[in-house]
């Protein structure tokens, strides 16, 4: 059934870099300094300023960013972290790395497929140490309500901002509402570099903790020693190698200059896509037009109105050269999670997972290609 071993005509994402990006990476490589150093520091500062956060600490991936954010929030063995199940597994897995238990809460609806504050409130126990909110597809979750809730219970709010760099809520950038925000620079993301991530925070202690643990909890780094600042180091805790390297920081720094204009383009395309998709019978298009201005418009998710057709519709689109993905299968339904956390029921999440398809979307997507996707979807759903 699958058109094996061939790239789709309309891929899910299509990354195009610019000559100035190549130049930035080439210069870094030619400098011969590849490990955590001045370019990473410069990127961190630029990104922190962009967000309006006190600190930004670049790490190797969003998974690493979540792990360090949870640890910084004091999450440890016996604790619980409330997370949505309608997200990439790392949101929950990072809690397991800390020895804690992820507790899955419902999403509000298929139209607003993000953490339902009421269900979060119902799932808070004496063991709850943190809540992680995911700003799905680049749209703001109910972060203001969740912040109030977490403050009232004195638990940490962590934001999984993997989808949502530069998105905002009430004029405040996402990632800066909670104790820490975890960003992703994975290759299909809005600001992508290959593998990479970042933790932002306004809390000096969280920042120092994350900085220490990303590089083996060593009291000085290679760059410090190279630049003559220090001579030796101590190891003060169990740390990790969650460092980003300089070529990736250079690429991020170069791409950051265009982030706002690319997001603007994504918004224009999203409005047009939404208009086209509103004409396709048998689908739900999550979110409202009014949410687009605050979103960074990462992806275009749709939900099939009818349950049980996801695989068939995906295959039909693939036959027409259109790649789709599922953002996301429910975490608690994966084998590894069913074994560890059986008997979890989240009907809204599960229905969303069974009916969601993510459509091709990238800043240089043409009107004709958008038309083609909408037409194919109408055809496939109609059959």
């Amino acid at each position: 059934m699958a058109i094996a071993e061939s790239a789709p005509e309309l891929p899910l994402f299509d990354l195009r870099l610019e000559p100035q990006d190549f130049e930035a990476v080439a210069q870094t490589l030619r400098s011969g300094w590849l490990t955590l150093g001045p370019r990473t520091a410069e990127f961190e500062q630029a990104f922190a300023e962009h967000l309006g956060a006190r600190h930004a600490i670049a790490v190797s991936s969003c998974t690493a960013a979540l792990h360090l954010s949870y640890l910084a929030a004091g999450v440890g063995p016996g604790d619980e972290v409330i997370v949505p199940a309608f997200t990439f597994a790392a949101t929950a897995t990072a809690a397991i790395y800390c020895g804690a238990t992820p507790v899955f809460a419902e999403i509000s609806s298929r139209e607003q497929p993000m953490l339902d504050p009421e269900d979060v409130a119902a799932k808070i126990t004496a063991r709850t140490k943190a809540v992680c909110v995911v700003h799905y597809a680049g749209y703001a979750a109910a972060v203001d309500r969740l912040k109030e809730l977490c403050d009232a219970h004195q638990i940490a709010l962590i934001e999984d901002v993997a989808h949502a760099p530069s998105a905002s809520h009430q004029g405040r950038k996402l990632g800066t509402w909670g104790l820490a925000g975890a960003f992703s620079f994975f290759s299909n993301k809005v600001l992508s570099v290959g593998e990479g991530g970042l933790v932002c925070t306004d809390d000096d202690e969280v920042a120092a903790f994350v900085r220490s643990r990303r590089s083996q909890a060593m009291t000085s780094g290679t760059w410090d020693r190279h630049s003559g600042r220090t001579d030796t180091y101590d190891v003060v805790a169990l740390g990790y190698n969650y460092r980003l390297d300089e070529p990736r920081s250079a690429l991020l720094l170069s791409r950051l200059q265009r982030l706002e204009s690319e997001i603007e383009r994504r918004r224009e395309l999203t409005y047009r896509y939404r208009e086209l998709l509103s004409q396709v019978p048998g689908i739900i298009v999550p979110f409202e037009d009014s949410q687009v201005p605050e979103s960074c418009c990462y992806v275009i998710p749709i939900m099939l109105a009818q349950d049980g057709r996801q695989s068939e519709v995906s295959a039909g689109l693939r036959e027409r050269g259109i790649q789709t993905s599922i953002f996301y299968p429910s975490i608690h339904k994966f084998t590894a999670y069913r074994e560890r956390f059986p008997d979890i029921s989240l009907p809204v999440t599960e229905l969303a997972s069974r009916t969601e398809l993510t459509l091709p979307f990238y800043p240089h997507m043409s009107n004709a290609d958008q038309d083609r996707v909408a037409r194919a979807l109408t055809e496939v759903i109609g059959t």
């Binding site: 699958a2 990736r248 994966f334």
Partner: protein
Amino acid sequence: MSDWRMPLTDIKVPEQDVEAVLDCLRSGWLTMGPRTQAFEAALAEFVGTPHAVAVSSGTAALHLACLAAGIGEGDEVIVPALTFVASASAARYVGAQPVLCDVLGPHDFNIDVQDVERRITPRTRAVVAVHFCGYPAQALALRELCDRHNLILIEDCAQAIGAVVDENGRQVGTVGELGAFSFFSKKQLCVGEGGMVSSADPELAGKVRQLRSHAMTSGTWDRHRGHDPAYDIVDIGFNFRLDEPRAALGLSRLPRLQQDIAQRRALVRAYRERLAGTPGIEVPWSDLAVERSSHFAFPVLLPDREARDRFRDDLKQAGVQSTWYPALHTFTDYRHLTPQGGLPGAEQASWRHCALPLSSSMQESDVDLVVEVVRNAVAQLA
């Protein structure tokens, strides 16, 4: 960028490497795909191992090696005290207890096989053999010991890609059940941050492959190439992936690795010749070990810690960067793991050594420069 007249390591990235990375960036495909596959195949051939799995760092490689080997809560892992901290962190990541053992001493910084044997208990599951500074540890003796006690042997090859363990040229990373390599920026083969796990066992390699990417049953590349978008997650995995630009860089540099190692060896021979007979300076390891080493670092020995520290100050004054490796049990977070009687070999080697500049881009004239500074510095000590 630095004011060092002679930095510890100096990485040169020639235009062909830059071009390989730019080619990859132009392709727009940055996550694990064809370049990573090609890099893995080339690494497997270079090392002489059936399976090579690229990962995000040497630390990640050790972590996944421990997980794949089934090491967990309640287990003990024997680790030499003179190594980079990740060799011991890996055991802790999986809930096991690192047990520090001694190294042979200032004449050979590598793991002491007899001391390993003394520290075996019913809870011991594995031994981490670190090939320190590029010099191969006694891997074959450790293999025999581990077989006798039914232990897993993990080779920490972070500093030793291309080093050989016997007269037939068998490389490090092929003796243990698993080998962990690093492509950190100071290493013989460097890409920035990166690593690799080697194994002859398809099941162990498969486990590492699975766990490096969240134990997902398909990857982004597979789905891009037309696989069904559905996937399962079958274990608690990690994001320890390498990406394509780094794989492209590694792939471009790998064909020069053997030549780079030969240059490093030539420089070490030159250092040793010139320093021979210099009062107050000794060099560890034998001439045979030098032939088998892949020469990550070139340490020399001073009479004691105080002399070493003064010596390093003098080198710094003269613009020559140097470094040294603390023993693990001297770190705040590892002090409680110091066994009764201490670890005298590791302590002596650690306090007395100083690693001098060494890079494949150095010339013999650079060695002459450093040696002159070294001679002056030792003369000051007397």
